[in-house]
């Protein structure tokens, strides 16, 4: 039973759900599901709905409405509204009939003139709105009224001509009722238009500018976008697309009635809102507008086909739209909250009681005062020195939380200089053979700084896990690294699900979200070596260069991964059930390793780790500041050897100077101490250590 529960928590469907919700394409999930649901519902209710003929008819009748919705979407995405789309559509419909069938202009000329007419109408809207600074709603409303009135006049004036028109050329008929590969011509145009405008709005500069202006006019202006021209162009596009729809409609219907295009602007607006495009502008896609239009269209046509009376149809659609729009608005607004509640998926972790850390308990972990009088270096001159390292001239390098690498100059470390500024949150440090300083940067990847201070990128992506929904090819949280004798860089990515600031959430999950990754500078390739590791943190190449030691923080383990020798490619747990949460590992002068405990295990947290449901509820019910978390206010330093035996520990009782120890480095008889949240670097003298030992010699030899 318990193993079943464990398996459940290990492969919880919530995990999938959370990563699914995180996807950007989940935002239009409501209109998308609704589209599918409406379609399926009518497919069940209406016999022969799914026949080819029926589907073709649906597409044929939908296309122009979809286009008008696209036209509306343009104006809405730019932060405005275009109420004149319906009137421009109707007028274009008339013009196409008039120019082609009554006057007899050639079809291409007709086409150009009508689209030009739409563009001019759009230009009037856009000109007034962008350059005259009029309100979009009123401006386009006025244009709607004027164009509509003109339409009514001309259709009356040409009643007899309109009544006597007959179908035109075969090209014209093809536009109206032709099919390409079974898809009606006008639907094909809609598809091309939708795909084209989608790319226009997302990939092409003027289109992206429309989105930018819609999101924030001010920001766009500051970014150097010509806001007026962009707005103008959005309305021109809107008008031209409406006109295109009018031509296709003319070819299909060959009639110009008083009802043509009446209320289409309302339908288009409803489609846009239903599709979840924000009326405030800047948020949404063309696909959503088309989906919204499809829902409205299918509801109307479906209910007519079911034989429901006209008025009732209108009322039902009104209610459905109201509900859907309300729900959609809520969804778009609250998706983040839902995600937050669903995303964290704790797993079941069993702990044995750890060895005692009580003073005088006799274990190697027993509390002592060896760090009590640590000398403070760089006190209040550094913020969050997660890792520290010393070069061959004894200068001390560390990371700062503002994204820079800070150097303190030997011998007294009072002179502070910014060695390099990279950005992100720099964490683990290492020197390679050429004395390049390599650094893991949370949120960015692995970077390097040459001795001349120039910054270069080592890697920022690795192989993607094919079976996973979430794209994990980008490096999310590179944590610590070390360089193998052959120059390959091994580094840990602590979590692929959480950012550094959310480390506690990763802790709640206690799940294998992390990876061990190897970058080979010779080939420039990066590949994932081990995955599903639980917060792999510290990385250290063993003294013999045959294996990588890596620390799992939440599982309180030290692991060994063989990279050379007979066991190459296999991994094993070197030390299990440590009493503290492991952080960085570094070589010691006596052939052993220093390990930083970022915090100590607490019985209550261990208990909570056995209880995933408790943790889930905690995350949901109480605010983040109140969450129970691993006790990282108090840690210590321990030393272990290649056999996995812990030999000693160093403590700062009460964690007064060094709470949260994340890194320790030995250099020429001294031990340097860094902490993720500390305001200093500590230094203690090691009595029995080799006073000449330095890491660089240990790694790369030399004098």
């Amino acid at each position: 039973m318990k193993s079943l529960q464990r398996a459940w928590h290990r492969h919880s469907p919530q995990l999938f759900l959370g990563e699914l919700l995180e996807k950007r394409w989940m935002e239009p999930i409501i209109p998308f599901t609704l589209t599918i649901a409406v379609f399926l519902a009518f497919a069940v209710m209406i016999p022969r709905y799914l026949t080819a003929g029926s589907l073709q008819e649906l597409m044929r009748n939908f296309a122009e409405q979809g286009m008008v919705a696209v036209a509306m979407a343009f104006s809405v995405l730019s932060g405005g509204i275009d109420l004149s789309v319906g009137a421009v559509f109707a007028m274009s419909n008339f013009l196409a009939l008039y120019l082609y069938l009554i006057i007899g202009l050639p079809l291409p000329v007709t086409f150009v003139l009508v689209v030009l007419f739409g563009a001019v109408m759009g230009a009037i809207n856009g000109g007034l709105i962008a350059y005259g600074k009029t309100r979009p709603f009123l401006t386009t409303l006025v244009v709607l009224i004027i164009v509509r009135a003109a339409y009514n006049k001309v259709t009356v004036a040409f009643t007899n001509e309109l009544a006597s028109i007959d179908s035109g050329s075969s090209t014209w008929d093809f536009m109206g009722s032709g099919r390409v590969l079974g898809i009606p011509f006008n639907m094909l145009v809609l598809i091309l238009l939708a795909v084209g405008t989608h790319f226009f709005l997302t990939r092409i500069k003027p289109g992206v500018h429309i989105m930018a202006v819609g999101s924030s006019r001010k920001a766009a202006r500051h970014a150097g976008v010509n806001v007026k021209r962009v707005l103008f162009s959005a309305y021109v596009m809107s008008g031209a697309i409406s006109a295109l729809a009018g031509i296709l409609y003319a070819a299909r219907q060959s009639s110009s009635g008083t009802d043509t295009g009446v209320g289409w602007e309302i339908n288009a607006l409803a489609a846009v809102v239903l599709g979840g495009i924000s009326l405030a502008g800047g948020r949404g896609t063309i696909a959503r507008a088309v989906m919204g239009a499809a829902i409205i269209f299918m509801l109307t046509s479906g209910m007519v086909r079911l034989g429901i009376s006209g008025n009732l149809t209108t009322a039902i659609i009104g209610i459905i739209l109201l509900l859907a729009v309300g729900f959609n608005v809520k969804w778009v607004k609250n998706k983040g909250k839902v995600l937050q509640k669903v995303y964290v998926t704790p797993s079941w972790v069993d702990f044995e009681p750890p060895p005692s850390v009580e003073r005088g308990s006799g274990t190697p972990f027993a509390e002592n005062d060896r760090l009590k009088n640590a000398e403070a270096i760089a006190l209040n001159m550094i913020e969050g020195p997660e890792d520290i390292i010393l070069d061959r001239r004894d200068n001390l390098y560390t990371v700062n939380r503002n994204g820079s690498i800070i150097r303190f100059l030997a011998p007294d470390y009072t002179v502070r200089e910014e060695f390099a500024r990279i950005g992100g949150r720099p964490l683990g440090l290492a020197f390679d053979r050429d004395q390049n300083l390599l650094v893991c940067i949370a949120g960015m990847g692995v970077y390097g700084v040459k001795p001349d201070r120039s910054v270069f990128k080592v890697t920022d992506r690795t192989t993607r896990t094919r079976t996973r929904l979430k794209d994990d090819s980008r490096l999310y949280l590179a944590d610590d690294l070390d360089v193998a004798p052959d120059g390959r860089i091994y580094f840990s990515e602590a979590s692929t699900r959480y950012e550094l600031t959310d480390w506690a959430l990763d802790g709640f999950e206690g799940r294998g979200n992390g990876r061990l990754i190897c970058h080979d500078p010779k080939t420039g390739t990066t590949r994932t070596v081990l995955k599903n590791l639980t917060f792999p943190n510290g990385i250290c190449i063993s003294h013999d260069g045959q294996s990588v030691l890596w620390a799992s923080t939440w599982l309180c383990q030290i692991n060994r991964y063989w990279i050379a020798g007979p066991k190459a490619g296999t991994s094993e747990v070197l030390i299990d059930n440590l009493p503290g949460y492991c952080d960085n590992i570094n070589r010691a002068s006596d052939g052993k390793y220093w390990l930083a405990f970022v915090g100590l295990r607490t019985p209550v947290y261990d208990l909570a780790m056995r209880n995933p449901v408790f943790r889930t509820r905690m995350v949901k019910q109480i605010p983040p500041d109140e969450w129970l978390c691993p006790g990282i206010n108090y840690g210590c330093v321990v030393k272990f050897d290649d056999n996995g035996v812990v030999t000693e520990s160093l403590w700062d009782p009460g964690g007064l100077s060094h709470p949260t120890i994340t890194s320790v480095r030995e250099h020429k008889g001294y031990l340097y101490i860094g902490g993720l949240e500390n305001n200093r670097i500590g230094r203690v003298h090691l009595q029995d250590a080799d006073p000449t030992w330095e890491a660089h010699k240990s790694y790369w030899g030399g004098a």
Binding site: V604, Q621, I622, P623, W627, T660, N679
Partner: protein, 372 residues
């Protein structure tokens, strides 16, 4: 799901009181004034209550003993009496007898020489095993509270975390410890007891119910004065001008309230983890490396944020004659006067004992002096 539950709950029980933790504002707005309190004399090991004797000496209960403190800062201390169990609440009768609550025993009356002159060990055939506080009315009537039928006073945390049905009592007797009666039952750890400034009511502060109630001395009436505090109220102390002082053991936290709801987890925690490492309020708040930590309590750049979720806290409040707080003194998360069990006006001064930090302190005088 929980949201749905909340909505259904709200619809079905619209009048149900929502016992959420109130925000510290109004008279309870945080300050650092309690940290300005001056420590009197040496440390006292886990002092619990103080009372001024008729002889002008200050009596302090600590462990199984009562200390008699004299001198300007009450720094000359002698053992006045040693009793059969841990001593809690103290009171002094108009005739100079000292009343002491002794865990597992009941109420013990002591002569000025420190000799036991009387005991009240049970009421209605039930032992008074968890006496918490005692007070004497101006007319000599004695009011005693019994915290719980399940736990003794030193197991206060267990009593809170067990979250059982309240079983505390308010017991009344005459000056000679006779004519004993239970005036109220089913109280949730009634640690504070005092006779109201007008003498007509007995005020009882229930720690686990976070409320202050008034019981009519003459009849049966009960009214709730304050129904929901941010902290766990402790003892009440009356001043000469009708003001009443209230101490708080600690503040409630969302995490503690959450764990109280999570019965299975809470029970397992109590069964398997030593009590000083439980999630829940503590008095001292000095770092125990293995205590549970909350995100907000993680030190940033070596600094403990004063607004972090408090595991321990120092808070005393001055109440007006209606029982409403008019002034509070705080020792916040980064402060040092935590776990105050008693605050009493002694002469012109107001003294408090910080059981958490083992000291007797004098509160800073006057209002406004604090901002200095």
């Amino acid at each position: 799901m929980s949201l749905l539950g909340d909505i259904i709950d709200r619809v079905l029980f619209p009048n149900r009181e929502l016992h959420v933790i109130p925000v510290l504002d109004g008279a309870f707005s945080p300050n650092q004034r309690l940290d300005q309190a001056r420590q009197l004399g040496d440390e006292i090991e886990r002092p619990d209550d103080i009372v001024l004797g008729q002889d002008g000496a200050l009596y302090v209960s600590t462990g199984n003993r009562i200390l008699r403190c004299t001198g300007d800062d009450f720094n000359k201390r002698t053992v006045f009496a040693t009793l059969d169990g841990p001593v809690g609440g103290l009171a002094c009768t108009p005739v100079g007898r000292l009343l002491a609550c002794v865990s597992g025993v009941g109420l013990v009356a002591l002569s000025p020489a420190g000799e036991i002159t009387g005991k009240l060990e049970s009421v209605g055939g039930e032992k008074i095993a968890c006496p918490l506080s005692v007070t004497v009315a101006p007319d000599g009537a004695i009011y005693l509270t019994d915290g719980s039928r399940n736990n003794r006073p030193d197991l206060w945390l267990a009593d809170l975390m067990e979250n059982r049905a309240p079983s505390g009592r308010l017991i009344a007797c005459n000056p000679s410890l006779g004519n004993v009666s239970v005036r109220a039952d089913k109280l949730a750890w009634p640690l504070g007891v005092a006779v109201s400034p007008d003498g007509g009511e007995v005020w009882v502060a229930e720690s686990w119910a976070h409320r202050l109630s008034a019981f009519s001395r003459a009849g049966e009436g009960r009214r709730v004065i304050v129904k929901n505090y941010t902290g766990y109220p402790a003892r009440l102390g009356c001043g000469p001008n009708g003001e009443v002082w209230m101490a708080f053991l600690a503040l409630r936290t969302q995490l503690t309230e959450f764990v109280l709801r999570e019965r299975a987890f809470c029970d397992e925690m109590m069964r398997t983890v030593p009590s000083e490492l439980w999630i829940g309020p503590v008095l001292d708040g000095r770092l125990n490396p293995r205590e549970p930590t909350q995100i907000g309590r993680i030190k940033k750049l070596g600094i403990q944020k004063p607004w972090a979720p408090p595991r321990s806290y120092g808070l005393v409040a001055r109440l007006d004659t209606r029982g409403l707080a008019v002034e509070t003194l705080h020792s916040r998360v980064d402060g040092r006067v935590h776990g105050v069990t008693t605050v009493r006006p002694i002469g012109s001064r107001v003294l408090a004992v910080s059981k958490g930090r083992d000291c007797l302190v004098e509160l800073p005088a006057g209002r406004g002096a604090e901002e200095g």
